[in-house]
């Protein structure tokens, strides 16, 4: 193109068309000031009336350049604008002149005749001059008229500033008193008043400072002062973005010594959020000032956070063996595996014992107890809701032994006693529960939580009178304790049930009457009414049935009603089928969503209350629940249904809900787990197909990726159980015994699963089930059952049975070792052996 232009340079200039006023206006309105200036410069020569537009374009361009940090270029535009006719004075032009120190032009503009007509603009210009005056540029003071408020009030403002900096608050007040409200120093006076109050009334000072207009020439001072009032966590970051003077003001107002400011400057070079690795260097450099112990602990945490390699750790800190174990224990906590966590802390506890030899009551002794309690505190290993998972029994046993040992080192922790008492009661170990109660009550005789624990233990042991007595003791110290009141009602109800079962309707009525004394509210009333129905039925069946029928109607006559009445019947010694027949409940009810949710909630309540429901009763809900799985439930409701049914051991119904959930949420790990466990929970995890294992492994992976570590661990535990049940070649009957006694090993299987278990198992999928079905077909169903029964009766006599060949599923593709030893949930011995701790301490 250039070449072409050169080529035609000698030719006559083409005629340049004059810009159109419309396009010039469009440029102006669109902020294309450079183009607008160019166009209007031409247009003004044709139409002088357009000079206003040209001035406007200059003004816009000046502001553009100023905002780009080009003050000199901006000033040139303002000067060009001033040459275009009688353009009014602009504050931006004035402030730019001040900033550039163009005193003569400042004063010239300040004295512009047009200003008399614009008091607002004049006031603003005066405020800027005032800020400049106080900012130390006093050379123009004598050039101002003697009566100019900038000059008149400036002296008082300067005195006030001097007094403030000198700490003379009285002087500040006196000097500010002579500054009138409409003075150009008004904002300054407000700021100074706020600054005086910063230490005593920071909120009031902040409010006062917030009232300063952001366009005020004093806004910079106000904003720096506000920063000094910012919360600590915001301050250090904010300081990086402000000018040095603002930082100095903050340092002074917050009392920062020079060493702190200096360290802040060093830290500020690391960015807004310094990495742990970067902070490690700072701590290393300043460890003398920070203190050796503090620095060491800080470095441990930083190294842990920075995930430094072993070599880097060594270089940074040279951790002691116990520090290394501490870091390992922290790391295990991140992985959220309860076994690993307990093991990590157990190892650390070992070093405390070895290194410190804790004495009773010493810090080391208490620390040891804390370490032993950590696994349970962190993972809730003894929580009742964890108790239903497979493998949880050994985990809880291990956790309980750690807690028991912790009481050796710190016997004054009531919470640990309560934790253990509850745990033992929940697992039916009432003797242990009572032992710990006795120890705890010897320390805290009238302690309410211990009284409650004692009452619960008495109830669990069927000592209803004792429980009632304890309940009264609790209510004596805490009369509004509704929980205890309810438990007391429950105690009387339990007593009434026991009497009813023993054929003592009179005693049952008496217990119910006693319960009435404590009952409050509709829920407790319903419980009483229900049991009273059964007491009545024991004496007068039609009357009792009538009472129960009306109660059932109130409950909706659905699944929830059947569960409630059936459970009460079972607890009171009545036959559920007879009751249901009496109530006309011969067919399974059609289930609606509300009824299903009510049923599940009541089932959970029975589980929480550890009420054992008879299998036939639960089985009677199977067909209803099967159809209920088709109801449109939300994801959370489906999960709750699966969990509740799992706790109840209702695996068929659980499988129905899990499958329904997987149809709507394909591959969802939690439902994969439920489907798998429900399919195999009753069959002892034998004969699992490889496809299922892969599916479970994929679910575990997805759970990990989603950060749901608890679910991932549950899935991993399920996989472990598969491997545990399918030991490597030679270990079980699945692969044939070393001596070839397949019959003895088959007997072992019958011993594990029971006759019904084996019969149930062969209905399931997998090669083992297929093989057994084949045997059943060969022998016939009755003979097969008979064979199983004879094996169960006398397993030792059963040798040489023609059991099918090895059926261990082939190793999965993932390369999972079998069985896994590193994370053998439920396989470890109790992890804590007090002897390992050199317990010669006391």
């Amino acid at each position: 193109m250039r070449k072409k232009r050169k080529k035609h340079a000698a030719a006559p200039s083409p005629r340049v068309a004059a810009p159109a006023p419309e396009s010039a206006l469009a440029d102006l309105e669109a902020g294309r000031f450079r183009e607008a200036i160019s166009a209007y410069k031409t247009l003004v020569t044709q139409d002088p009336a357009l000079s206003e537009r040209l001035a406007e374009a200059y003004e816009g361009r000046a502001r553009q350049l100023a905002s780009k940090g080009m003050p000199k270029e901006a000033l040139a535009m303002w000067e060009n604008r001033a040459l275009v006719g009688d353009a009014p004075v602009r504050l931006d032009h004035f402030t730019l002149l001040i900033r550039l120190g163009r005193l003569e032009e400042v004063l010239q503009l300040y004295r512009h005749p047009s200003l008399g007509r614009d008091a607002g603009l004049l006031g603003a210009m005066r405020a800027h001059l005032a800020a400049r005056y106080l900012g130390g540029s006093q050379e123009f003071r004598d050039r101002l008229a003697a009566a100019d408020p900038v000059r008149v009030d400036g002296q008082a403002a300067s005195r006030a500033l001097m007094a403030y900096c000198g700490g003379d608050d009285q002087g500040v007040t006196e000097a500010l008193a002579s500054i009138p409200f409409r003075s150009p120093y008004r904002d300054f006076a407000q700021i100074l008043k706020a600054l005086v109050r910063v230490a005593e009334a920071p909120e009031a000072a902040a409010e006062q400072l917030a009232r300063i207009d952001p366009d005020s020439p004093f806004a910079g001072l106000a904003s720096a002062a506000r920063l000094a009032l910012a919360p600590e966590h915001e301050l250090t970051g904010c300081l990086r973005g402000v000018e040095a003077a603002a930082r100095e003001l903050v340092f002074a107002l917050r009392g920062w010594p020079p060493e702190r400011s200096s360290l802040w400057r060093e830290l500020s070079t690391l960015g807004d959020e310094p990495s742990p690795k970067a902070l490690t260097g700072i701590v290393q450099r300043h460890r003398q000032v920070l203190g050796e112990d503090w620095s060491r602990r800080a470095l441990l945490k930083l190294m842990f956070q920075a995930n430094l390699s072993g070599r880097a750790r060594l270089m940074a800190l040279r951790p002691t063996p116990s520090e290394s174990l501490l870091l390992q224990a922290w790391q295990r906590e991140e992985d959220e595996d309860p076994w690993d966590i307990m093991e990590g802390w157990e190892r650390y506890a070992g070093t405390i014992v070895k290194e410190v030899k804790p004495r009773p009551g010493s810090d080391a002794s208490l620390a040891l107890a804390q370490v032993l309690r950590r696994g349970d505190r962190l993972m809730g290993t003894l929580d009742p809701q964890r108790a239903h998972g497979e493998g949880s029994g050994q985990l809880a046993q291990a956790a309980a032994s750690q807690l028991e040992l912790s009481l050796v080192y710190d016997p004054d922790d009531r919470g640990t006693y309560l934790r253990l008492i509850d745990h033992y009661r929940g697992t039916g170990a009432l003797k242990e529960s009572r032992r710990l109660l006795k120890q705890a009550q010897a320390r805290w005789s009238a302690d309410k939580p211990l009284l409650i624990a004692a009452m619960e233990t008495a109830l669990a042991g069927g000592a209803f009178k004792k429980a009632a007595g304890l309940g009264r003791e609790i209510l004596a110290v805490d009369p509004i304790n509704t929980g205890v009141r309810e438990r007391l009602v429950d105690a009387h109800l339990a007593h009434a049930r026991k009497s009813l079962r023993g054929g003592r309707g009179d005693l049952a009525t008496k217990a119910l009457d006693e319960a009435v004394e404590w009952a409050r509210g509709e829920r407790m009333g319903d419980k009483l009414e229900l049991l009273r129905g059964f007491v009545t039925m024991a004496e007068d069946e039609p009357a009792g049935l009538g009472r129960l029928r009306s109660l059932a109607e109130r409950l909706g006559n659905g699944l929830a009603a059947r569960l409630t009445l059936g459970a009460e019947a079972a607890q009171s010694g009545f036959a559920t089928p007879a009751l249901f027949a009496g109530l006309g409940w011969s067919k399974s009810p059609k289930v609606e969503t509300d009824d299903l949710l009510d049923f599940l909630a009541r089932l959970r309540a029975f589980q929480d209350g550890r009420v054992e429901l008879p299998g036939p009763l639960l089985d009677s809900f199977s067909s209803s629940l099967k159809s209920a799985a088709r109801l449109e439930l939300e994801r959370g409701q489906l999960e709750t249904a699966c969990e509740t049914l799992a706790r109840a051991g209702m695996h068929k119904a659980r499988l129905g809900f899990a499958r329904a959930a997987l149809r709507r949420f394909p591959g969802e790990p939690v439902f994969e787990l439920h489907a798998f466990e429900a399919r195999h929970g009753d069959y002892g995890y034998l004969g699992i197909q490889e496809r299922e294992i892969e599916r479970l492994e994929q679910a575990e992976q997805r759970a990990r990726e989603a950060g749901d570590m608890r679910l991932a661990i549950r899935l991993e535990e399920a996989l472990d159980r598969v491997w545990d049940a399918n030991e490597p070649p030679g270990a079980t009957f699945l692969d044939g015994p070393p001596g070839g006694d397949i019959g003895a090993l088959f007997a072992q299987m019958v011993g594990i699963l029971g006759v019904e278990g084996v019969l149930e198992m062969i209905k399931g999928p997998g090669p083992l089930a297929n093989a057994l079905r084949e045997v059943q077909r060969d022998l016939g169903a009755a003979a097969f059952r008979g064979l199983l029964e004879s094996i169960a009766r006398s397993p030792a006599d059963f040798a040489g049975f023609p059991f099918p060949g090895p059926m261990m599923p082939s190793s999965p593709k993932s390369g999972r070792s079998s069985p896994r030893t590193g994370k053998g949930k439920g396989k470890r011995a109790t992890p804590l052996d007090p002897d390992r701790f050199d317990l010669d301490l006391f």
């Binding site: 720096a224 000018e243 360290l263 800080a298």
Partner: protein, 97 residues
């Protein structure tokens, strides 16, 4: 700040009484109405090191690394507020136009 000792301004060897006294004194100047976030920080710090067992648990199980504010407070605690130099305010006024 994350270090409860620094938040409450107590030594690491402080006993229950010293920790409680520091907490009471701090909240006397910083009620929940006056400065909720500071109050919450004080309350949280107090809960972390309230008793001997709490302090031991903090020493063993806390793995939150020190923040910049922790390092500053530990190395050179802030003292009493002071008045700035006049030159500082003048510089701010010159730059604030």
């Amino acid at each position: 700040m994350s270090d409860p000792y620094l938040i409450l301004g107590v030594e690491e060897g402080a006993d229950d009484a010293a920790v409680e006294a520091a907490y009471r004194e701090a909240i006397r100047h910083c009620s929940p109405e006056r400065d909720p976030s500071r109050f919450e920080a004080l309350r949280g710090a107090f809960e972390l090191i309230r008793t001997r067992r709490d302090r031991l648990a903090y020493a063993l199980f806390d793995r939150i690394p020190p923040s910049v504010a922790d390092l500053l407070e530990r190395a050179a605690p802030a003292g009493e507020p002071r008045r700035p130099e006049r030159a500082v305010i003048e510089a701010l006024l010159r730059g604030g136009g």
